[in-house]
Amino acid sequence: MNQDLPSSKYDRQERLLIWDQKIIENSTILIAGVGGTGSEVCKNLTLMGIGHLILVDVDTIEFSNLNRQLLFQEEDIGKKKAEIAKGRLCDLNPSVKVEDYSILLQNLPQSVFEKVDIIAGCVDNYLARQYLNSIAIEMNKPFVDSATEGFLGQIQYVKARETACLACDNPPPPDETRNLSAPCTLVGKPRIREHCAWKALYDFNELLNREPNDSSSSDILKLTKIANQHAKKNNFAVFDKKELLQLVLFHVPSLITVNAVISGFQSQEIIKGLFLEQKLALPEKERNTLENLISSQRFSIPSYLIYSALSGTITTFDLTPDLDCMVCKKPDSSLKHLLEVNIDRKASFKVLIDKFRMKNGKEYVAFRGNTLLPEEGIIEKLISDKDRVTLSSLHDKEEIRIKIIFTTKKRKRKKKRRKRT
């Protein structure tokens, strides 16, 4: 080997004023959504030499993804995005550890979120975004969310209870999701007609282990049939194909250039966030430089960034947290934090409600902040051991956060068996 060649492939980035490759190599980033922005963020972080990437995406690769999602090729159509992305990223940089989960975000075990340093949101819908936001707040993890639509893109950096979160000032949800309360509709009884459409999408995934293709007439027919079965069963009007497409398979316009700009910013803010979070681990010289830059206001992470490809402008704002935000407001004295409750895994959530019945009745159980859990739902089917749920009263805003620990009866069973023998 030529001795003049740099010894590290990260040589050029290591020449930066503030850089510590060890921090990057020891970090774990969760990327929710491996689509247009997600795949770009994956590529950036992989080539930077991030230690551990966790990819979560339930989607399969479609023909229309190929013009902008660089990790996928024509032969991958119909395969799981997270799985294929993992293979391509390992080829790009074999020293990066990549984990993939082709499941709904809501089904991702809490233990996965616990081990990450930063959560990157690259999802394409309001509900998933709000779900990630509530988890990031609860687990006190920095959350960098990105969104693109046509010529516009935005990034929001959420630092739990320091900056504004995505639920602050309660921005109204987009029209098509306004009628959808929470992903609990996937397992509970549909309360409104639109829930039937979402249940159908969920059933389709479960049945065929893939997303429906909006250009396949047989997929749409099948989806409509399932949705109408739910609608009839629950006495709602049936859907026609066009309405169902608009409701659950609506895709916003997307441009690779905007995705690339936004994912570039997002990756950059993730790296900056890592250095800020692990400032003390930086070598002394870099740490001093960083602190000087921070004090002279030349190093900061804007809480909100907007990019317009039409006007070629990038604007940053510092969003102020909403002190009454339902998700990120500081817990007051009325919130009893993390009571540990031993409960039978086969019980329903009604048991919890009965156990902690609060004043004025009408309580609901929520999972990680905003996912309403049906009263009749079996605990074991919806949450795993040591998960946290919140019990809230709609009337007096009182809340109790509960850590559920499943009771085990294995010992008793063994004794009974011994007696029988």
């Binding site: 959504g33 689509g35 247009g36 922005t37 997600g38 989607d59 993804n65 999602q69 949101g121 690259c122 999802v123 394409d124 819908n125 309001y126 975004r129 990105s146 969104a147 693109t148 639509e149 516009l152 893109g153 935005q154 504004a164 602050c168 000032d169 309660n170 921005p171 109204p172 987009p174 895709h251 916003v252 316009p253 997307s254 909100y304 907007i306 317009s308 039409l310 006007s311 402008t313 604007t315 704002f317 510092d318 969003l319 102020t320 909403d322």
Partner: protein
């Protein structure tokens, strides 16, 4: 619904309509997507009106069509369109930032 007869005078901060007299305040709308020397415009808005009315005033000031979803930020807080202007404590000459609303895609 009958169209309101509006008597408008630039020198006053009150506007008379058939439903009474509305107190008007002058605010500055800023659209950061425009060049710096053109991105602030002044407009009178109803001090007791809704944020939605203020959004419409912002559209009017910058000729932003209704198909482009926008929101307003005041002191770093996103204003809820159905809330009343008075709940945000907006005073004369307040600066309201125009930002795109409902960017929700990702793939």
């Amino acid at each position: 619904m009958a169209k309101k007869d509006v008597i408008w005078d630039n020198s006053t901060t009150k506007r008379a309509t058939d439903s009474g007299i509305e107190k008007m305040i002058k605010v500055r709308f800023k659209d950061p997507q425009l060049p710096p020397d053109q991105n602030i415009r002044e407009k009178y808005i109803n001090a007791n009106g809704t944020v939605f009315q203020a959004i419409n005033a912002a559209r009017d000031a910058f000729n932003i069509p209704e198909v482009v979803p926008i929101a307003l930020l005041f002191k770093g807080r996103r204003m809820n369109p159905s809330s009343n202007i008075s709940t945000y404590g907006i005073m004369q000459d307040a600066l309201l930032m125009i930002v795109p609303d409902q960017i929700k895609g990702g793939n």
